[in-house]
Amino acid sequence: MNRNEYLDRLASLLREFDREYQQEIFEAVNAHFEEGLREGRTEEEIASDLGDPAAFASGREAVEPVESAEEPHFRFEEEPREEPISVMVNRLVRGILGKVKQEVGQASWSFHVDNTPLQHVEDGGSVRRIEISGGALDVDIEPSEDGLLSYAYPANASPALNLQRRGDTLVFSSAETLRTLQERLRLALPESVDEIAIELSSGDVRIETLALSVLSLHSSSGDVDLDTVAVEELTHRSTSGDLQGDNIRFSTLRSDTTSGDVKLDGSVLRCAIHTVSGDMDLSGDFPTCELSSVSGDVELEGTPVYWRVKTVSGEVDLSLPNGDTTLYFHSRSGEAGGVWRSGVRMVEDPEEAAIVVETVSGDLSL
C-alpha cells in the first residue's frame, strides 16, 4: 500500500468518527510518512510500519466511546449579511431558472451513444419527482426534446429495472449488483420534474442542461458530472466519487466526500463542502463559502463576501479580483505567500474578516 492508498483507506474507515479524531489520526499518520520519507524509506515500508489502518477504527472504540459520529459538518453560524441572502437567493434563482429553461429549449442531444430506444412513461408530464436507486447503475439525465418523460434501459439487462409510480413520484430501482455489471439508465425529463434523488454505490451520474429545485446525489464511488445545471438545493455525498460541475448555478450546495474531489465552474450562492483528503477547486462566483478538509487542497477563485476555509495539512490558494477585502489567517506552521495586493487588509479578529483561513500546517497563497 502506498501513501495515498493508505490515507484513502484510513479516510473511509474513519468516516463515521468525529472530525477531531479524524484530524488527529490523519496528522499523526501524515507526519509519520513525512519523517519516514525523509529518512529515505519507501511509502510501502512506512505503511507497513504503521500497520493495518483498521486498527485506528477498532482501536478508537477500545480507547473511548465515540461521542457523536453524527456531528453536523457545517453550520452557517450567522447570516453573513443582514439583509440580503435569502432575498437575493430567491431573486437570483428565479432569474437563473428562467435562463436555463431557455438554454434547455435550445439544447442539443449530445451525449447518448447507445442505441437502446427511449420508452415513454405514460402520463409522464405529471411527474414532479424522480427517485433512482441502484448499485452499479450509471445514470444519464437530459432534457426531453418532445416534452414527454422517457427512459432507456437495455431490455435484456441484468439486473432488471423496476419502475414504480407513487403519486407524482416516479421510482427507478435496480437490485444491488456486482461492480462489474455496469448498466446504464438514460432519462429524458420534461420541465415538470423539479426534484431528483439518486442513491448508488458505484454508478456514475451525468446530468446535462437541466433546472431543478432539489437534487440529492449519493454515490460512494461513482463520479458526478453536471453540465449546465441549475439547482436551488443540491446535496452531494460520496466516499471516493468526484463531483464535477461546469456552467453550474446552485443557490445552496452541500457536499461531503472522503477522498472525492470537488471541481466547480459557475456560481454557487451558499456553498459548504467538507472532504477528508479530496481536493476542492472552485472558480466563478462563490459569495459565501464554508470549505473544510483534512489533507485536501483548496483552490478558490471569486469575489468573497463570506469565506471560511479550514484545513489541517491541505494547501489553500485563493484568487481574488481587484477591490478591498479583509483577511484573517491563522496557522500553526503554515505560511502565507503569493502576490499580496494592497486591497487585502489583514485583521486580527476573524469576526471582522470577509475571508478566514485556518490551517494547521497548510500554506496559503494569494
Partner: protein
C-alpha cells in the same frame, strides 16, 4: 510476543521512554516498535490515550528540514504514574523470574 502482555506494558514503555527527554512521534514509535514488534499505528493510539488522560502534553517545534514536529512531553501526573508503574513492573518481573 504475546499480545496480552504487550497490551499491558505498552503504556509503561511509552511513558518510560519520555522520562529522559521529550520525543516526537516518529522517533518514539520507531524506538519502541523496533524492540516490541508493535505497529506505529497502535502506538499513536496509545499516545492519544495517554494525552487524553492527562499524562502527556504535546507541542510543536519547527523543523529545518520539513513540517513542524509534534513533541510529546510527560506531565507531572504522567511522571508520577510512570514511576509508580515502573516500580510495580520491576517488582512483578523479578518475582516472575524467580518462578520461571
Amino acid at each position: 510476543m504475546n499480545a496480552q502482555w504487550k497490551k499491558g506494558v505498552l503504556e509503561l514503555c511509552v511513558l518510560s521512554q519520555l522520562r529522559e527527554k521529550d520525543q516526537y512521534g516518529y522517533e518514539l514509535t520507531e524506538r519502541i516498535s523496533g524492540k516490541l514488534d508493535v505497529s506505529a499505528g497502535t502506538l499513536y493510539l496509545v499516545l492519544k490515550r495517554l494525552r487524553d488522560s492527562g499524562y502527556l502534553e504535546t507541542y510543536l517545534v519547527e523543523s529545518s528540514s520539513g513540517p513542524a514536529r509534534k513533541y510529546y512531553h510527560l506531565t507531572e501526573t504522567g511522571r508520577r504514574n510512570a514511576e509508580a508503574d515502573r516500580a510495580d513492573w520491576l517488582e512483578f518481573a523479578s518475582k516472575v523470574e524467580e518462578l520461571l
